[in-house]
């Protein structure tokens, strides 16, 4: 006979696994530091690409002015401004990415811990059922240990 409580627990666990295997389980395979470091590296690359695109966008917006003043331009201060803005831009996005990665990791870890607790509970249920069925199996045998009969 199927234990209803175990069945509902298995349904909940299957639901969790279906929804969260890609995210929570995958995230919790990493150590927290490694996961955050990986996210920060990706963030660095993506933010650099985004900044270059923003510069391109700005250049397109002011193309006529840039081209007409190209000969008189002093590139050093312009480069300095670009680098300073890049560092500020990168800093802001790094903080956002770090915070997000940390929150994601903590939540994923908590989810997986709950899942493991549920697994333990389910294993206990199975062991209890095995123990009870072993006692039943002993009942099932006609076992005569009769010393008197010849």
């Amino acid at each position: 006979m199927v234990d209803k409580r175990r069945l509902y627990l298995m349904i909940a666990m299957a639901r969790f696994k279906d929804k969260k295997t890609d995210s929570s389980v995958r995230i919790s395979n990493y150590h927290q530091r490694d996961y955050i470091a990986m996210k920060l590296i990706v963030n660095f690359l993506v933010t650099t690409v985004a900044y270059i695109l923003l510069l391109a966008f700005y250049a397109m917006y002011n193309l006529e002015d840039i081209l007409s003043n190209l000969n008189e331009m002093n590139f050093r201060p312009i480069l300095a401004v670009i680098i300073v803005f890049y560092l500020v831009f990168l800093g802001v996005y790094t903080v956002i990415a770090f915070t997000r990665a940390r929150i994601q990791y903590v939540r994923a870890d908590a989810d997986v811990e709950q899942y493991e607790n549920a697994l333990d509970r389910m294993n206990r249920m199975y062991r209890e059922e095995d123990r009870l069925s072993e006692t039943d199996d002993e009942d099932d045998y006609d076992y005569f240990d009769d010393d008197d009969e010849d």
């Binding site: 409580r5 509902y8 985004a50 002011n62 193309l63 009870l132 039943d136 010393d147 008197d148």
Partner: protein, 405 residues
């Protein structure tokens, strides 16, 4: 009103029962509307204007998750831009890539705004955008609304400003390249951005108020503010707008927002209670507003309570149930400790008898039982009539010991 409430509940239950069909159909319809609106606005690539292509793309969007719709519509916009000219195509790629890299990689759920906002503008229900976002998502959706408005600005500027430049013989490549970002941030678009942001923030603020009818108030105030600020702004900044069309569109948007409110938030303010209580740390002033119910809903609640008491919700999925398990039910009413002591005494008695050579047999009889709950009753040890409890309680007898007294 009661009829509307029942209709709402029936629709909700219908959705719950058939959501595996309704969701793809909804995505299909949304994709169809979006693609048709985009093709009407910027249909430069003839292949994508074909009915069968639109239907196939809509079917693909129905199969994919909702962000698949965003991706496909973005690709359609880029494809139409590419058909106009290579520069406009490259600019479209840069624009949508920037949106994804700057914001939507953190909040992918809001990416739908990139497509839905241009569609809302095509259907002239633009006031619904800030009001609905303020009601449902709150102030956090400001950035996604801004990007959605930029997307609409690009879609609108392509046929209005960019296409004439591209097709003109007098304009150069530099003119086209410079015109594209400038067409995004015209005075009209800046006015629209500022008005939308103000309206969204005010709607979100009013909705959060602890007063009755906050949703209705926020819809009314937001709509009036939207049309008022737009008219005043257009007069001050010299922007041309069609006032009658704005008023009509805003009225339509109010209807849409009221429908959204009906499905998301349905409170019965006539039964509001105000509670005050305290604990060791805080004073609590709580306003309790029950949801609107009908007899139909109350009957659903009764049925749900009976059927659903066993099934765990997502919140309680890993919580221990208070329900007794089968094992504890089998041993209900039995004092196991006293039974164990009894059987140990019996064991000691038998053991000492055996040692003394009394000749007691150590017969261990196990009988197959039909069900576990009766296994103890099936054990036969000596005089069963004396041992069997006629009241129905299961007597635990140490297995296999004969002549127990």
């Amino acid at each position: 009103m009661n009829g509307l409430m029942e209709l709402r509940e029936r629709l909700k239950n219908f959705y719950e029962d058939y959501d595996f069909v309704i969701r793809p159909v909804f995505r299909f319809v949304l994709a169809l509307i979006s693609l048709i609106a985009l093709n009407n606005q910027i249909g430069y690539l003839e292949v994508l204007n074909q009915v069968f292509v639109v239907l196939i793309l809509a079917v693909i969007c129905a199969i994919l998750p909702i962000n698949g719709l965003v991706l496909i519509c973005s690709v359609v916009i880029v494809a139409h831009s590419m058909a106009l000219s290579v520069e406009t195509g490259a600019f479209a790629i840069i624009l949508y890539l920037l949106m994804v890299l700057l914001y939507f990689r953190f909040v992918p759920k809001d990416a739908l705004a990139i497509i839905l906002i241009p569609v809302a503008f095509v259907f002239h229900v633009d006031a619904a955008v800030p009001v609905a976002l303020g009601l449902i998502r709150g102030p956090v959706s400001t950035v996604s609304m801004i990007f959605g408005l930029i997307s609409w600005s690009y879609v609108q500027s392509l046929p209005a400003d960019i296409a004439p430049l591209v097709n003109s013989d007098e304009s150069s490549l530099l003119d086209v390249i410079q015109a594209m970002p400038r067409a995004l941030f015209t005075t009209k678009m800046l006015l629209l951005l500022i008005v939308s942001v103000i309206v969204l923030l005010i709607v979100a603020m009013i909705r959060k108020l602890a007063s009755s009818h906050s949703w209705e108030m926020s819809i009314a105030v937001g709509s009036i503010l939207y049309v008022g600020l737009k008219i005043v702004g257009s007069l001050l900044l010299g922007v041309d707008i069609d006032i009658l069309a704005e008023i009509f569109g805003t009225a339509l948007s109010v209807g849409i927002c009221l429908i959204i409110e009906f499905f998301n938030f349905c409170a019965d303010y006539t039964r509001t209670e105000y509670l005050e209580f305290e604990d060791d740390h805080n004073y609590y002033n709580v306003r309790v507003t029950p949801k609107r119910t009908t007899e139909y809903m109350e009957s659903l609640d009764r049925d749900a309570t009976e059927d659903m008491s066993q099934i765990p919700s997502d919140d309680s999925r890993f919580m221990e149930s208070e329900q007794q398990n089968e094992v504890s039910r089998k041993f209900e009413g039995i004092n196991l400790q006293s039974k164990l002591e009894e059987s140990l005494k019996t064991l000691n008695t038998n053991q000492s008898g055996k040692e003394n050579g009394t000749g007691d047999t150590t017969t261990r009889i196990y009988r197959r039982s039909g069900s576990v709950s009766h296994r103890w009753d099936d054990l036969e040890t000596g005089d069963d009539d004396e041992d069997r409890n006629t009241s129905g309680d299961t007597r635990v007898i140490s297995p296999g010991r004969k002549n127990l007294k």
